[in-house]
Amino acid sequence: MKPAVLKPFGLICLLAISAGAGFYLYQQDSGNPRPNADAADGERPPEATQEAATPDSVIGARRPDFSLPDLEGRERHISEWDGNVLVINFWATWCPPCLKEIPEFVELQSEYGDQGLQFVGIALQDPSDVVDFARKHGMNYPNLVGELPVIRIAEAYGNNTGALPYTTVVDRQGTVVFVRQGPMRGPEVEAVIEPLL
């Protein structure tokens, strides 16, 4: 028979062991890189930003630099399109509101492309998921792809929820002039870009 006074100690010990085990798991979990099919091997994320950007903080700022592979696997740098009015659209094929925007973006690219409008799609997923969609929907502008690097770039452009679609407009001087979390219709895009062209 155990003395009654030992019972609370038993509970305390159990709690301590549980907490210790939990802390161990926490440390193991947060300290080790995890095998995960979602992780993009070999992709280089851009430099970390000092502070998390917000939609408000990026308006009026120089567009963040980045490079990503396109659908053919060629590394493309955003500066390639300097001097154009850029519409950078973060999207994914698993995002229905994103897919609804794209036919209108394709039309706008056709209509205003010769005036210096350049859409750049940035897809948050594996390129194999994007190639068929882009072909099927006649996407007439470049698409860059990635996972972790795309998240970092979206963050640098002020996407602080990680949700899609997310669209930014950059003027010919390279200044971010517009940010939209959520879908944009064609006329809304036109209203933003026309004064910039």
């Binding site: 926490y26 995890r34 979602d38 897919l99 972790l148 939209r180 959520g182």
Partner: protein, 179 residues
Amino acid sequence: MDNRNDTVLKQLTARFLLIGLFVAAVPAQGGDSFGERLRNLFQGEAQSSAGEEFLPADEAFRFSASVVGPDRVDLMWRIADGYYLYRDKFRFRIIQGDAGIDTASIDIPHGTVKSDEVFGDVEVNTGEVTVTVPIHRCHGRSDEAIVLQVGYQGCKEDAICYPPVSRDVPMILTGGTGE
């Protein structure tokens, strides 16, 4: 003998309560770097140029987990109004510990069928969703430390969608045979 069984039962109940408190106190971890990045992104809150505010995923889909038996874990999501989770996007797997899950035996509550222009009819969950995950323990140890990885994905109606969310839930299952 009855007194002894009663004492054992009380001890087990106390242990489950403690473990439940412990699990509730330890936030679910997005263990991989991808998941961590996603979670970090979700800390903030964005406002669109059109003035509509969107919740970070952690607030749109409030997630919690509790151990409810030696081989059962309850997972719960409180989904904000106007948001939904895809029923076919829930994922469960043991990533640490000697245990397994028969995912076919997991009963995810049915939601409502949403007609999507792009994807056709998809079943989505709204409001509160509770999923009981049966854990198959490989050994009869009295305590089994495991990490359950939970995945889910959702959207706000006609507005935005979140990337797949991955949460690692560390827990200790008690009440094995002690062999």
